[in-house]
Subunit: 156 residues, 2 copies
């Protein structure tokens, strides 16, 4: 039964996230943001087309009111601006300011510098990145089609 490895992988991923967040705490405070707003900031890639509120909520797996609240934090700090979409005027997109870009870059630098994953060899990094990305891709693909039931099985 290889469920043991699955359980260990799930648990390790969970702890890795907790430890990483903990190590980022001081940086968040210095940059005058919080864990949640930092996650949002990282989702706004200045190289890409400015994402809409809906797209950002999807990436953070949160709902619309929460996203409005989080974006407000970044707007209040001068890191993001809301712009109306030209084609569909219901939509608003998030655009990084210069300060927003700079803060985001610092966040990424620090995240790489403190991540426990920095101890891995190049081969290990490659393996982890590709395996996890593959799992995510397949998970998102299979959740959009078929298999609607995810009920709690009490067979225990």
């Amino acid at each position: 039964m290889d469920d043991g490895f699955l359980a260990r992988a799930v648990r390790a991923n969970h702890e890795l996230f907790l430890l990483t967040s903990d190590r980022m705490a001081a940086t968040f405070a210095e940059l005058d943001i919080t864990s949640s707003t930092a996650s949002l900031l990282l989702e706004i890639d200045p190289e890409q087309e400015p994402p809409t509120m809906k797209a950002l909520a999807g990436r953070l797996y949160c709902n619309a009111p929460n996203l409005t609240f989080l974006i407000d934090q970044l707007v209040a700090r001068g890191m993001v601006e809301r712009v109306r979409a030209t084609k569909d005027r219901r939509q608003r997109a998030a655009v990084l300011t210069g300060k927003g870009e700079h803060t985001r870059a610092t966040l990424m630098d620090v995240a790489l510098a403190i991540s426990p994953l920095r101890h891995l060899t190049t081969e290990e990094r490659t393996a982890v990145a590709s395996i996890l990305e593959g799992a995510l891709t397949r998970a998102k693909a299979s959740s959009t089609e078929g298999d609607p039931l995810t009920t709690v099985d009490s067979t225990r």
Copy 2:
């Protein structure tokens, strides 16, 4: 220039956590717990010696007041009981009730059932589990001894 893989690994870990939390949401509601209290419940292994409050706070990377709040949630739901440690009467340990054990077991079942990692092959699960555990072990070892500075070492 293998920082690309490191960044991808860090990002995949982050998204995996968000997606997993999102997929657990319905189960949390059914079990009358929240994401945070579920994480705490999972840290109390009925096979092990009942952990102290301090030990649990360490495992969740949170502070003492927060842990008191979280344990109160589980106590109020009849899933955990506080007991005084006999040797050091300042300490309190968390002991699972029958309901706590059952809820915890259900949580673990569902977590394995919905995790994107379940799509991985046995070899991939093994690789991810051992690599991430190794990174965590080294990260925690190097943060407790020596090297008080968390400076960015660019020698890589």
